[in-house]
Amino acid sequence: MRLFITQFRRDLVLAVRSRSDAANPLVFFVLATVLLGLGTGSELVPGVIWVLALFANVLAVEGVFRRDHEDGTLEQLLIHAQPLFPAVVGKLAAHWALSGLPVAVLSPVAAIMLTGTTTGIGVLVLTLCIGTPALTLLGAIGSALTVATGRGGLLVAILVLPFYVPVLIFGAGASTAAMLGDPVAFQLLALSALLAACLTAAPFAVGKALAISQEY
């Protein structure tokens, strides 16, 4: 737990300190929403918001380990964090708190901008709150695999977007169903199951990928 808190606090402080970095996914999300509002109608709104949140997520998570790799704090983390699991989770939790969470919090505004109604907005926020941490955990695998290459960007997107598909399907499915007034329990449960699976398995894969990246 101490490792989790140590890493979580550090990354939170760093993210708050470089505000524009932390704001990038959020600004992207808003900007894309506006563009979509200008360009399309309103039937598909929850799905569209989900896709945007997903892209914002992949853009943000792509560089989550890069600076740590460059300044050597990543290698210190790998040497000393025993076990590595809580430290990785702490790092990603801090990352999510300033990328996924703001998007989830802001999504009602986007939904109202695009639909003009408030039906199903609670479910939309809930699915984003459950779904985006799963996305961050999955995306971190791609980010960790590419951290030593110096180029992430599109490559990370290609690597992880296929893995995002289940989260997108259930997240967008639940939000759309809620807007139409259909039951959503199954999708929410499936989404929670995905998050639980990601939370238990992904940090191990991330740790392994980071260890590989530090090999000479």
Partner: protein
């Protein structure tokens, strides 16, 4: 004398472990069982027959050495001979292609990359490091460590604004924050001024005389302190 990639000389001053004699060098420095028996007892680090390659090139093969309490092991060799790779093997960041590495105690590593986050202050960096290594360091002892490396006045500055030498001092302050019996240092004198070099020398002398050990990759004379520790050199081939 120099066979490509092979261990070439070892053991300068110490009576401990002549692991790699000219006779057995060609076979890859085998430790005979009777030799090993009296060596593993109290050593902090044992490397046995390790081999590292980069692509097709063999950096070293059959390399064996150990670090006893009180030892300062110097890893020497020209650029590209695998000094950094060897140290990364010792600390567990890199897995050698063959051989065994046993560490019996906690170790600290100061590498080429500082391990210091540029957007945080020295004190924040060390606080994070203490949390990472589970060291019971409060702000006071961290401040003392920074004072000892000569950065007491800059403890709240952002590390990006510090010079390269000052950043290296912050890295070295980690050695004071977290107690560990084994230090693994990659070119610890880089970017340091004369003062800093003397400081590192004293630090190493004090560390080793307390029955602990250090492994350093270096091109320079590490310590000229009067109570210089038992120095052994592991020289890597070209």
């Amino acid at each position: 004398m120099c066979r490509l990639g092979y261990l070439d000389t070892i053991d300068v001053e110490s009576a401990f472990g002549v692991y790699c004699t000219p006779q057995n060098r060609r076979r890859g420095a085998v430790i005979r069982p009777d030799e090993r028996a009296n060596l593993v007892e109290d050593d902090l680090l044992v490397a046995e027959n390790i081999r590292c390659t980069v692509g097709d090139r063999v950096l070293f093969d059959g390399l064996s050495f150990c670090a006893h309490p009180g030892d300062l092991v110097e890893i020497r060799g020209p650029n590209g001979s695998g000094k950094s790779t060897l140290l990364r093997c010792l600390v567990g960041l890199h897995e050698p292609d063959a051989g065994n590495i046993r560490r019996t105690v906690d170790s600290l590593y100061v590498g080429h990359r500082s391990g210091i986050c540029g957007r945080m202050s020295p004190i924040e960096n060390l606080r994070w490091f203490a949390g990472l290594t589970n060291a019971s360091a409060d702000d006071e002892s961290i401040g003392a460590a920074l004072g000892a490396v000569g950065l007491g006045h800059a403890r709240h500055d952002v590390c990006d604004s510090l010079s390269a030498g000052q950043q290296r001092r912050v890295s070295l302050a980690r050695l004071l924050v977290t107690p560990a019996p084994l230090w693994i240092l990659d070119e610890p004198l880089t970017a340091l001024d004369d003062d800093g070099r003397d400081f590192v020398g004293e630090l190493l002398a004090r560390h080793c005389s307390a029955g602990r050990a250090a492994v350093c990759a270096t091109h320079q004379v590490l310590t000229t302190a009067p109570d210089a520790p038992a120095t052994r050199a592991v020289t890597l081939g070209p």
